[in-house]
């Protein structure tokens, strides 16, 4: 696994050649930068992967069943397992999606599940991302490059090939496509931080990259606007625009990124949208607490993969524990993402602690608290030196006729030796993830 270290400059040159970038906004200005790549892969043993894979399939299947339930029968609420307040007060719950069951009953076609490995070797789920999980393209292109420049590395190591991610996406799109229409990836545009991924996946999956102005809804049907008023029916949209901006007539009226009346076409079943609208209710950090119970309720099984020990201040007992142990816990704002809204009690001064205590007491639904998991560090190259840094793994689970886990993942690491925040938007880098065949 160290064989690529000597060739990292070559790898980085290829990354630059391929334009492997992500964008960030700093001081109101947009900057594109190369995504820092570390040449030492994360290696997951075959034995570990069997358990991770089974656990992820179980978890995503349960989450999909939850979504169908929440927007229809609400059996899990009626059974008293999840308080209805949790559902309806979630910022991700969309009343506009009530009664809608998408094509083939799949809500989360592409689920990004974030995991860490604790020091005892156990894999723990940190977060579910069921709206627009991103990042798979980076390890995919990294593998393309590393296989090219170091074929002997892959002759000597029996690693599952990960370059099939776009094939999995395309299969999912084909499966849910309505009336064999066009397949498009809908992007907010060049100045979205993940734009490289939108365009790269469109290329590799063989689908059209569309911008909002390229689509129109007429008679509750979505069309691609070709030249000179030509109209081509769209059957499936892999959208990379968040719910609130996707249709200005149904959601945020000031949005210029969305397609007016898209919601109508979707509600009528005239277009499939990947991932479905309204999935945010299931990847709400508060709902995360209930996922093991969802697995039991919908599948009659015990969760294979565990959550991090989590407390919900919504419940008095948990609130008391959290307030008494604030300094040892990590507090998360359920509405935030990308590593934002995450606060470590040990890093807070007295004033900050008092402030967060007040917020937990007055807005208990807004917060969760978790035990700080001392997850394993991975080696990264810093200059010529190998150092240890915190990292997580985003696994990608694709749901179509079957639920499959992509044999790879995005391993992100922090470059800050004292930080647990690995997100790219906050300066992290990435590694390839090797799943061993044997």
């Amino acid at each position: 696994m160290y064989s690529l270290v000597k060739q990292r400059d070559t790898v980085n040159k290829w990354m630059e050649r391929f334009g492997v970038r992500f964008g960030i906004y700093k001081g109101g200005n947009f900057h594109e930068q190369l995504f820092p790549f570390d040449p030492i892969p994360r290696v997951i043993s075959h034995k570990d992967w069997i358990e991770i894979e089974a656990g992820l399939i179980q978890r995503v299947n349960a989450l999909n069943m939850f979504l169908e339930d929440i927007y229809n029968e609400k059996g899990i609420v009626k059974a008293g397992i999840i308080p209805e307040e949790f559902i309806y007060s979630s910022s991700g719950y969309l009343a506009q999606c009530e009664g809608i069951t998408p094509s083939k009953k799949i809500f989360s076609h592409i689920s990004g599940i974030d995991l860490v490995q604790a020091k005892d070797g156990k894999w723990i789920v940190l977060e579910d991302n069921l709206r627009i999980p991103s990042g798979a393209s980076y390890p995919m292109i990294a593998r393309t490059i590393t296989r090219k420049i170091s074929p002997e590395t892959f002759k000597e190591n029996a690693v599952f090939d990960n370059r099939n991610y776009s094939t999995l996406i395309r299969k999912a799109m084909d499966y849910v496509n309505i009336d064999n229409g066009l397949q498009v990836i809908l992007t907010p545009g060049r100045y979205n931080s993940a734009y490289f991924e939108h365009s790269y996946l469109a290329e590799k999956a063989g689908v059209i990259l569309a911008f909002a102005d390229d689509l129109i809804v007429e008679n509750d049907t979505v069309y691609y606007k070709g030249l000179f008023d030509k109209r081509e029916r769209v059957g499936v949209i892999y959208r990379r625009i968040s719910d609130e901006y996707i249709d200005p007539l149904a959601f945020e009226s000031s949005s210029l990124l969305g397609v007016p009346n898209l919601m109508r076409a979707y509600a009528k079943g005239n277009v499939a949208i990947m991932n479905a609208l309204g999935n945010g209710v299931a990847d709400d950090k508060g709902i995360y607490y209930f996922v093991p119970k969802m697995i039991e309720f919908y599948l009659g099984e015990k969760a294979i993969l565990q959550n991090a020990p989590t407390y919900l201040p919504y419940y008095e007992e948990d609130k008391k524990y959290v307030l008494d142990n604030l300094k040892t816990l990590v507090i998360k704002d359920v509405a935030e993402a990308g590593g934002y809204g995450v606060m470590f009690g040990k890093d807070m001064n007295d004033e900050q602690l008092a402030n967060i205590k007040h917020l937990i007491e007055t807005e208990s639904r807004r917060w969760i608290a978790q035990e700080v998991i001392d997850f394993i560090d991975l080696e990264i190259m810093e200059g010529e030196e190998r150092v240890l840094r915190k990292s997580d793994l985003r696994a990608f689970v694709i749901s179509e006729e079957e639920t499959r886990v992509w044999h790879s993942g995005l391993t992100r690491y922090t470059r800050n030796p004292t930080s647990f925040i690995v997100n790219s938007s906050q300066g992290g880098g990435f590694k390839d993830t090797w799943i061993m065949k044997k």
Binding site: R17, G19, S166, T167, V184, R190, Y200, G226
Partner: protein, 229 residues
């Protein structure tokens, strides 16, 4: 890793514009360097102010204080909207929005060109250091021909290429037979599934594109009005 075949390719009005301008800007980079080399050669010992002639022919303001100033700023100055490096950035702006059509391997040549132009060592050498850009642009065009299977997409880009080529060859007063050759190649491209050419304007252009009139400003205007989407 296989790139999956696209079953059908949509071309919206905005996409058509990007394809066209990708072709125009890419050809602009290639030909500008070609024309510059000729003028830099003149500046060695025949005409020290040949850069002024260049500016006049390109239709840009001569805001340069000397040949050295022109070399630095016209080639490498990112704050100069007319500079060659900014032309490359415009190519990239369009290419990035068309990755799924032109493929990453084609876009590579633009990324490589920009990376090369930004190297301090290359900037210190001047135009001699830019042969590699010419090589990359030729490879770009080769990749367009090799990788783009969809005729409409490919010919739309090449339509832009030929428009730019005509424009620059006329500005720099190339002989009629040379310019006519480019014109015929453009017509050939239009016939092969290129839908972004305004037919009425083309008819008018054909009438005026003659040995006596091809350098007229009116002909240049017609050429630059051919695109429609």
């Amino acid at each position: 890793m296989q790139t999956l075949t696209k079953i059908n390719s949509g071309v919206s009005s905005a996409k058509a514009s990007r394809l066209y301008w990708l072709g125009r800007y890419a050809e602009r980079v290639y030909l500008t360097l070609h024309m510059l080399r000729k003028h830099f050669d003149l500046m060695i010992d025949e005409d020290k102010d040949a850069y002024i002639t260049f500016c006049n022919k390109m239709g840009i303001q001569n805001k340069y204080t000397s040949a050295d100033d022109f070399t630095k700023r016209y080639l490498f100055d990112t704050s100069n909207p007319e500079s060659v490096i900014n032309m490359l950035e415009r190519v990239k702006d369009n290419a990035m929005m068309l990755r799924e059509e032109i493929m990453t391997e084609t876009l590579c040549y633009i990324e490589l060109s920009i990376a090369h132009m930004n190297k301090p060592k290359v900037q210190s050498i001047g135009i001699e250091g830019l042969q590699r850009i010419t090589d990359y642009m030729l490879a770009f065009w080769g990749s367009i021909d090799e990788r783009i299977v969809d005729n409409q997409i490919r010919h739309s880009i090449k339509f832009g290429k030929f428009i730019e080529s005509l424009d620059l060859h006329i500005r720099f007063e190339y002989p009629y037979n040379r310019v006519e050759g480019i014109f015929n190649r453009m017509l050939d491209s239009i016939e092969k599934e290129c839908y972004i050419c305004d037919e009425m304007t083309l008819l008018t252009l054909k009438q005026h594109f003659t040995f006596d009139d091809y350098k007229n400003i009116g002909v240049l205007q017609l050429i630059n009005s051919l695109f429609r989407a």
